[in-house]
């Protein structure tokens, strides 16, 4: 189809900030349309006369575009030409048009124009009274899945892509002296004043162009069109090295201590898919000295009958579409306004050459100047009246107007009908207080402007312009300059001199008083009048709010939750104040008495991509590697995650199952020699004259007599007496130790030592340093380990008598200086070789060079677990869970209560509960059927026939098949287990079977420890 031949029926031939030389094609709900560069998706849809953009949540009513910015409740669309680039929740009013854009309604089924739900909706509306969200979806729990599907479908939340997002998202951190939010007249003015002081300034605005309302205003600044002033200011700011400008960047969150999160859309205006290598969206994280909020105000629509029919719009949005996008969104306009400013929409409409049917001014006494101007233009002004009802379903076809009383409480008569296709309503302005609420501040009501303004805050925050309730251009410019200079001065820049705060001249007419009207009365009571929508997104009506207050929901927070007002993705930007006013009125309270709900981050919906940034895929979480990782990869290791470490789990050979591999690895260790990369164990270097005493305080066993050259195993407990880590510590020299911790516990243990040193015993002379990454640890284990190692060292005496079990020695291994610890976690003769990690790979390879003749076999963590379980050695974190004492583990030998200092855990272990009889104790478990491996976590019972709930005695913590023993082995807790040796316990399984096991010693192999002492 030739796009140029298509008409943009509502497009003006001249004017606006669009580029008519640059045509763009886009698709909406499968139909192709033309638009221009400079359009938003919304302005292009309106230009093409698209009235219906979605269906409503509850009643499935057709909905059209209402607003022109972030406040748009209806045109919330699904974007994306391909499955991978689907983006839900895009406001058409904020999406810049690009060539090839594909958008669709999210809630129309099967189509937006002819929605089957609307038939259901007519019934459903009655079936779904306000509060259904609250009442219905609370229960039953089992139906939640169904409900969720229904809510998503109905609420138009859109859908997530099911393919991976190909785009790049990232985050960037900034620090600013002054952060200015919003680049309308106040924000530009503030940024300029602050920037001129040399302060570091960031100016962010959600729109592609800076200028805010000046982009569609008639005003002049210093005698020039306002847009020209904008261009000049932006040009000056661009020149400043200390100023960062962020267009297309929504300040979405204003968090504690002046921390702001800004969502920048860098390529969303170019295409669906960001150009290769380009970042699509960036989250800026800003810590600001001072913040100037110049977020402006959002126009309030009036609440009247059928006010959701497409064609009902905000007056200011009508002006924006005409002036900025050269689009008149209709042919015949009825304007309803409570204030002078509203008149402008009618004037703009007329200037665009279309018919203004009437200006309906709700005030009995309109301001003379407006009326004079209207009359001069030949426009009909109907005073003291309101549009009480709209006719039409997919587009406005006419309105009913009537006279209302001075307070706007009731219709006084004079009901008549007017034909039109557009109704613009101007109900006054609500300052965009959203960001000011994010850190907990409550907005305050100002009677003089009938609006909430930002409340008291602890943030270093200033407000300027409309957000402050200062709506005139002059006030915006003045406050902006003044607050900008003040913010800079507060941050230590500039002196707030006259030069900085010099305000350009603006001529604007004084405005007369506005009428406080929120809810337009109808001839019928609210409950029987046509639906008067308050919150379009959640289909909350004035009648619904009245029902809520009648049912006793008096707190506005309760009204909100009962009706779902403000729960949409627009957070009720248009509806909340009207809703509060209606709630207040129905309770005979004032709005400040009723109070307001507060807004939370994010200001507008944000993609998960921007939240995740680069922390996805390979970079989701750091992967830590040992120095020998490359070897493990090359030798086919399967890896296990231990904390962030990637540890070899087992090394399968061709055709081997995991169990085959484990069997082979374990046998190799028991029969000849195996090697484990133990580099990931935490290692803490401890130096100082009080090091030994410190060890005695943090471990449950004794350290006073550990000689230089010796190692000792220790258990570390919390003050509650419960084991939380363990490991071997070696005495390197009189005042020098190296402690090992579990792989996962390394950071925690170091912080634990520092905590006690810094807060409890600061006078002890000891320093702790992590050396985890510094040493590579190669554990060579098995009866041939001595022979093997002897081939690699000529300066370490490895003989049985000179290098005893639990000794360590320094020397060289494969020519590399090493500390060798003769310790064992497998129960076999073992040597742990520690070398500086830069040489870890070299030594590892050298060990294999001589290892072949000993069938040196690499083994992973799983084989290590089996080997240690055969010996009954615990793994802290697997066989302990924070509820077991050393005594529960049967490790009384590792408790030295004779130590003079009451070590950490001693008092805890002595608590009544810890010393009582019949605690759960760690025992070995031998299954009756030696081939059956009890699943870890299985619960022990004494009587498998006991009806549920059964009395549980404990659970299995470690369980494996031992190839060396030819039967399964397990460890677990059993109540009073140490005195139940030989008894049978039962482990019922989910499939109904029961595994029988005999309580035994956890040491299945070599109880005397002969193998490690050879």
């Amino acid at each position: 189809m030739n796009l140029n031949s298509m008409t943009q029926q509502n497009r003006l031939q001249t004017g606006g900030r669009i580029n008519r030389n640059k045509s763009l094609a886009f698709k909406f709900n499968g139909t192709s349309y033309p638009g221009f560069a400079g359009d938003t998706l919304a302005s292009a849809l309106l230009a093409n006369g698209v009235d219906v953009v979605g269906r409503s949540f509850k009643y499935s009513r057709p909905r059209g575009i209402v607003a022109a910015g972030a406040d748009e409740p209806n045109a919330v669309l699904q974007l994306g030409a391909t499955e991978a680039t689907q983006v839900p929740n895009v406001r058409a009013t904020q999406q810049e048009l690009f060539d090839g854009l594909v958008a669709a309604s999210t809630n129309g089924w099967p189509s937006t124009d002819n929605d089957m739900m609307s038939y259901i909706g007519k019934v459903g509306g009655r079936m779904m009274p306000p509060g259904f969200y609250y009442k219905t979806f609370m229960y039953p729990q089992s139906l939640w899945d169904t409900y969720e599907k229904f809510i998503r479908k109905a609420a138009g939340l859109g859908r997530s892509p099911i393919e991976n997002d190909p785009d790049i998202y990232d985050q960037m951190n900034h620090h600013a002296d002054v952060m200015v939010v919003g680049a309308g007249p106040a924000g530009l003015s503030a940024a300029l004043a602050a920037g001129r002081t040399g302060a570091r300034v960031i100016l962010a605005d959600e729109q592609a162009e800076f200028g805010g309302m000046l982009l569609h205003s008639d005003e002049t600044i210093d005698g020039k069109p306002a847009c020209q002033w904008v261009d000049e200011v932006v040009a000056e700011l661009t020149q400043m090295a200390n100023v960062m400008l962020l267009p297309r960047s929504t300040v979405n969150g204003y968090h504690d201590h002046n921390f702001l999160t800004i969502h920048e859309r860098r390529t969303d205006h170019i295409a669906d898919l960001a150009p290769k290598g380009q970042v699509r969206q960036r989250m800026h994280r800003v810590r600001a000295g001072w913040v100037v909020l110049a977020t402006g105000a959002i126009e309030r629509p009036l609440v009247y009958g059928n006010n959701d029919v497409p064609g009902c719009m905000l007056a200011s949005a009508v002006s924006t579409y005409i002036k900025r996008y050269a689009v008149v969104p209709g042919k015949e306009l009825v304007l309803m306004t409570t204030n002078d400013r509203g008149y402008k929409a009618a004037f703009h409409w007329q200037d665009a050459g279309r018919k203004v049917v009437a200006i309906v001014d709700t005030r009995a006494e309109s301001t003379a100047a407006c009326v004079v101007e209207a009359q001069k233009r030949g426009l009909k002004v109907i005073k003291g009246s309101a549009v009480i009802e709209v006719k039409g379903s997919k587009r406005v076809t006419g309105v009913t107007i009537a006279s209302i009383d001075a307070k706007g409480n009731r219709v006084t008569g004079n009901v008549r009908k007017l034909g039109c296709d557009t109704v613009a309503s101007a109900g006054g302005w609500s300052p965009a207080v959203h960001l000011s609420c994010h850190a907990g501040s409550r907005p305050e009501w100002r009677d003089d402007i009938q609006a909430f303004v930002p409340g008291k805050t602890l943030q270093k925050q200033l407000t300027a312009g409309s957000v402050n309730g200062s709506y005139t251009l002059n006030a915006c410019l003045e406050e902006g300059a003044q607050r900008g200079a003040l913010a800079a001065a507060n941050a230590g820049f500039g002196d707030q001199s006259d030069e900085l705060v010099k305000v350009p001249t603006v001529s604007e007419a004084a405005e007369g008083p506005a009428m406080a009207l929120f809810h337009v009365p109808h001839t019928k009571p609210t409950s029987r009048a046509p639906k008067q929508f308050v919150d379009y997104q959640t289909d909350v009506t004035a009648a619904g709010i009245e029902v809520a207050t009648r049912e006793g929901f008096e707190s506005i927070e309760h009204v909100k939750r009962y009706t779902a007002m403000g729960f949409g993705t627009d957070q009720g930007k248009l509806g909340n104040i009207n809703g509060m006013a209606i709630a207040a009125k129905s309770m005979n309270k004032t709005i400040p008495e009723t109070g307001t709900t507060i807004f939370r981050p994010n200001y507008t919906p944000i993609t998960f991509g921007a939240i995740a940034g680069r922390n996805c895929g390979e970079l989701f979480d750091p992967k830590r590697y040992s120095a020998m990782h490359r070897w493990h990869l090359e030798n086919g290791a399967k890896f296990e995650d231990v904390g962030q470490w990637k540890r070899p789990w087992y090394f399968p050979q061709a055709g081997e199952s995991m169990q085959d591999s484990l069997n082979r690895e374990c046998k190799a260790v028991r029969e000849s020699a195996g090697i484990l990369d133990a580099s990931t164990l935490g290692k803490i270097d401890i130096q100082g004259k009080d090091a030994r005493e410190f060890l005695g305080r943090v471990y449950s066993n004794a350290w006073a007599k550990l000689a230089v050259g010796k190692c000792r195993y220790g258990l570390m407990c919390g003050e509650d007496g419960m084991v939380f880590d363990d490991g071997v510590t070696a005495c390197l020299a009189e005042n020098h130790f190296v402690m090992t911790t579990t792989t996962g516990g390394a950071a925690r243990v170091l912080e634990w030592l520092e905590l006690y040193h810094q807060t409890e015993w600061p006078d002890m002379e000891v320093y702790f340093n992590t050396v985890t990454d510094h040493w590579s640890t190669l554990t060579i284990s098995g009866p041939n380990s001595r022979k093997l190692l002897s081939e690699l060292t000529d300066d370490i005496d490895l003989s049985k008598d000179n290098f005893k079990f639990m000794d360590w020695k320094a020397g060289t291994v494969a020519g590399v200086p090493a500390r060798v610890f003769r310790i064992s976690f497998t129960g076999e003769l073992s040597f742990e070789v520690n070398v500086q990690a830069n040489y870890g790979m070299y030594v590892w390879e050298k060990v294999f060079e001589v290892g072949a003749k000993y069938n040196l076999t690499p083994y992973g963590t799983e084989s290590m677990h089996v080997l240690r379980a055969e010996k009954g050695f615990i793994i802290a974190g697997q066989d302990t869970d924070g509820s077991v004492t050393p005594i529960d583990l049967g490790m009384d030998w590792c408790v030295a209560n004779s130590k003079p200092f009451s070590y950490i855990g001693k008092r805890g272990m002595a608590r009544e509960d810890c010393v009582k009889e019949n605690r759960k104790q760690l025992v070995g478990l031998k299954t009756k059927n030696p081939q059956v491996v009890i699943p870890e976590g299985s619960q022990a019972v004494a009587d498998p026939k006991q009806p549920i709930p059964m009395t549980m005695l404990g659970h299995v913590t470690s369980s494996y098949y031992s190839a060396c023993l030819n039967h399964s082995i397990a460890m677990g807790f059993v109540r009073g287990g140490l005195s139940r040796m030989g008894e049978t316990v039962y482990y019922p399984q989910p499939d109904g079977s029961v595994i029988e096991a005999e309580v035994c010693s956890p040491i299945f192999l070599d109880p005397k420890g002969a193998r490690q002492n050879v």
């Binding site: 504690d256 002046n258 810590r287 602890l458 003050e719 912080e751 520092e754 905590l755 807060t759």
Partner: protein, 97 residues
Amino acid sequence: MFSIYCPYCEEHREEEEFHAKGQAHIARPLDPENCSDKEWGEYLYFRDNPRGLHHELWVHATGCRKFFNITRDTQSYEIKETYKIGAKPCFTATQDQ
């Protein structure tokens, strides 16, 4: 996200560098053996949960690794002061009321 003044690094740093470690000024009893189970239980488990000023122990985990104290308003999240271990707070709840 808080901005926290580290009294050891002598500058404000981002919260992500710190870990909160619970209520401050919980001293380990000097003679644990002579504590009753109740006293020991209170030392171990019982903590204040005030609305308002609270003294908290924090550690500059991804920084200088030093522990220090913060006086923080649990309602407004305002940090009134940070001070080194062994120092006394300038702001206390009673003084504030």
